[in-house]
Each structure stands twice: as structure tokens, then as C-alpha cells.
Symmetry: C2
Subunit: 217 residues, 2 copies
DNA sequence: CTCCTTTTGTTGTAATTACAACATACTTAT
DNA sequence: ATAAGTATGTTGTAATTACAACAAAAGGAG
């Protein structure tokens, strides 16, 4: 049993089911040298990649030459699965080899072929994809919601309110230090600290390090 | 055949398959009076709703009393499907009846039950959910990417660059007027107009109403 | 064409933020 | 316990933005 069988994308699938899956989706391995382009913005793709060795970066390069690194994808993690599911969606990012790497590609090519299959491996695989996609959705919409307000104060309160809902308590720890919270909310760290101080002085919250309490008074 | 059979969630399913689906997911109808709460932030849910009549609003209410209306869900559209798929995820928003309405609820209660089914209706239904979820993902990550930069200029350029990729051209129309673009990028309309003027004066772009051209040098 | 409405562009000002530089508190290793 | 390193808080300034008020342009109805 190969190590990538443990990827969440194969969760609760037997070895046999995984192997059927690999065959049916015509999984093929490919190697890339450091800095080589794997997928290019502007293209579409019917394949998604699972990293077997090394790592890749997801980056955005605009026509004026600005580069932004959006994320890293390491061992047993995958990329471009959303675009493979939606064959016609244009990739908006480049995928590039961050070091020499080995990638396993799966052809999904929209769901047309799979949707008429009534085999168990297919059902499990799609369910796994759906769970991954749904979870990504929660993360993305959460962040989108928290960086929508225009002031630092509103972003903080929006974020703290949702954590409070998740923890079912007005007192809780957050999983970020100041710098990480600032990055998450897309604001300057010192401005964040400053606003947290103000919120405390005004009696709206109370916090110490990553422990927070909401005071609705 | 009832009109809600045409919802995208039942795409390419026969009437018979849809009816099996309704039975298996124990679909039940419920009516709500205007302003009545349908789902509450902080709860979890194993059901998602399809609007049969009237409309609902998705809103956020924090403990300090601030209300934000996030979206409207009208006829044949649905809500909370992501939370129903991920049973344990806490709802971060309230769902409230915007007017008297009729809702059809489907019990998904995570994918556990469905993942071991090998019937065609289930496969089609899950594929539809996956497609919807994947598409939502593209929309959300696009927006998240465009509002991440801190200056209006960078947001504009980020947005225009992706549209250019999608249209495979440096000249294109955008589907927004100024106010809508400002809302999408989370900036003030007049500040947006102003920045567009500057970008034109500097020869970086050229635009007239919703027609844009990117000038790479 | 003319009046009216809507959209878009412009400008000045107040508010907010980023940024830099520094002070303080907290950790960790020795 | 001390020293070095890291995280957090504070402050002042320059840059950016929101906001309001208005001007100009575009579109529609009669």
C-alpha cells in the first residue's frame, strides 16, 4: 500500500477501490524540475494533481509583472481539483514546482463520466471530493466575511463573533497570534494591537494573548 | 411535475429519481411567517432548505447588536446546504423569512448514509451538489483574492487581470457598473472612479464605461 | 429637442490605516 | 538568574481611503 493512499481524498476507501479509482481516472505520474510550470493561468484543465514528492506553489502573476504567492501544496495534498471538476473554468493562478517533484494526475474532466456510474468506489470518491469542497467553502466564506468590513474594528468584532458562535461561549482561545490574526484579517499588526487596546479600554472585549472574552455588558 | 424539480440541484435527474430522492432524504415542507427565524447562528443542522415560495434572507447578527444582510435566497434556490453536508459545522449566520414562505427541507446529515449507497439517483444528486459547491468555491476564492490587496489600485488591477485571463484578451467588457464594481471590491465608488482615472492618465489601462483595455506598457 | 433621471467623474476634508521606530512583556536556553 | 530572542503594545507621521457635495456626461420619455 502506497503512502498517498492515506490522502483524505481516498478516505474510507479500500485499497482495491483506490486502485480501481486510479485506473478509471487514468492516473499518471509526472516529474517536474524546480521552477518548472505545471499549470498555467488562462488554461483550463480536466486533471487535478496529487503531490507525491516535493512541493508546488500556487502563484498569481499579472500582466504588469506583479507576482503573489498564494499557497504551498506539499506531500499528499492536491491542487486544481476545483478546476478539474468545472472543466470550463479558466485557471486564475499558476502552479509551479517549488522544488523537484513528482505529481500524480487524475483525469476527472467534469463529472459527466462519473455521474452515470453506480459503483461504490466512485460514490465514495465523489463524496470525499464533496466533503473537501464543502469544507473549503466554509473556510473561504468565513474569511471573505471577515475581511469585508472596511475598518479594523469591525473586522475584529466580526471574527471574534464567529469564533464565539463556534465555541458556544463568550470566552475562548483563538488559534492565531497577533501577526497571524493581522494576516488573516488583512490589516497591519500594530494597527491591530492598537485597536484591540481601544476595544478593551471601551469595555467591549477583554483579552490577554490569544484568550478573549466578549463583554456585551 | 412540480416546478421545483427544475432546480439545479436536480439537474439531469428523471422525475422518478427526484421522487426517490425526496423520499430517501425525508423531504418535508414547512411554512414560515414573515420575519420568523428558520435557522439560527450557533446551531448545527443536518437539513438544508429549498425555497418553494417567498424568500429568505441570510443575515449576521453579532452580540453587540450589529446586523448585516448577506444575501437573499429566492424561489427554487437553496440555503445551508454546506452546513448540512458538514453536520458538525456551526452555522455562522441566521436564516430568516423575508416574507411568508414555504420551505422544503432535505435531511442530508453528513454524507455517511449516502456514501455507501450505489444507486443512480444518489450519484447524480451528489454530483450536482459537488458541482454547485465547486462553483461556489471559484466565486468565493476569486472575491477573496480581489479584496485581499489593501489599496484600491491593487484591487482593481487584480480584478482586471483575472477577467482578462477568463476572456483570453486584454480588451473586454466587465459585468459591473461602477457602483457594483465598487461593492464587489469593497471600496467607495467615487474613490474607485478616481483611481480608474489615475490608472488611465498613467497609461496602465484604458476604459470607457464597462469596456476595459489593459496596456502592459 | 428638452426635461428629467441615472451614472460617472472630480474635488476637498476628515477619518482610518500602514508603516516605522521604539518600548515593554513574555520565552527559552544556558 | 541572566541574556538573547520573540511577541506584543505604543506612538507619531505619511499615505490612503471614505464621505459628502457637486459637476459633467449619458440615457430615456415625452
Amino acid at each position: 500500500m502506497k503512502s498517498f493512499y492515506q490522502s483524505v481524498i481516498f478516505k474510507d476507501m479500500t485499497e482495491e477501490e483506490i486502485e480501481t479509482c486510479l485506473t478509471e481516472l487514468r492516473a499518471t505520474e509526472k516529474t517536474y524540475k524546480k521552477d518548472e510550470m505545471i499549470l498555467m493561468a488562462g488554461d483550463t484543465t480536466e486533471r487535478f494533481g496529487l503531490v507525491l514528492e516535493g512541493s508546488v506553489t500556487i502563484e498569481s502573476n499579472d500582466i504588469w509583472g506583479n507576482r503573489t504567492i498564494l499557497s504551498h501544496v506539499g506531500n499528499r495534498h492536491f491542487f486544481a481539483e476545483t478546476y478539474a471538476l468545472l472543466e470550463d473554468e479558466t485557471l486564475l493562478v499558476d502552479v509551479r514546482a517549488n522544488e523537484n517533484c513528482r505529481i500524480l494526475f487524475f483525469r476527472i474532466g467534469s463529472l459527466k463520466s462519473l455521474r452515470s456510474s453506480n459503483e461504490l468506489w466512485a460514490m465514495k470518491f465523489i463524496c470525499n471530493m464533496l466533503e473537501i469542497s464543502a469544507y473549503k467553502n466554509v473556510v473561504l466564506s468565513g474569511r471573505s466575511f471577515h475581511i469585508s468590513p472596511r475598518t479594523i474594528r469591525e473586522r475584529i468584532l466580526s471574527y471574534l463573533n464567529t469564533v464565539s458562535l463556534q465555541k458556544h461561549s463568550t470566552e475562548f482561545d483563538i488559534p492565531f497570534d497577533r501577526q497571524q490574526l493581522a494576516d488573516y484579517l488583512n490589516v497591519d499588526r500594530s494597527a491591530l494591537s492598537n485597536e484591540l487596546s481601544k476595544l478593551q479600554r471601551e469595555g467591549i472585549i477583554s483579552c490577554r494573548k490569544n484568550h478573549f472574552e466578549l463583554l456585551s455588558h
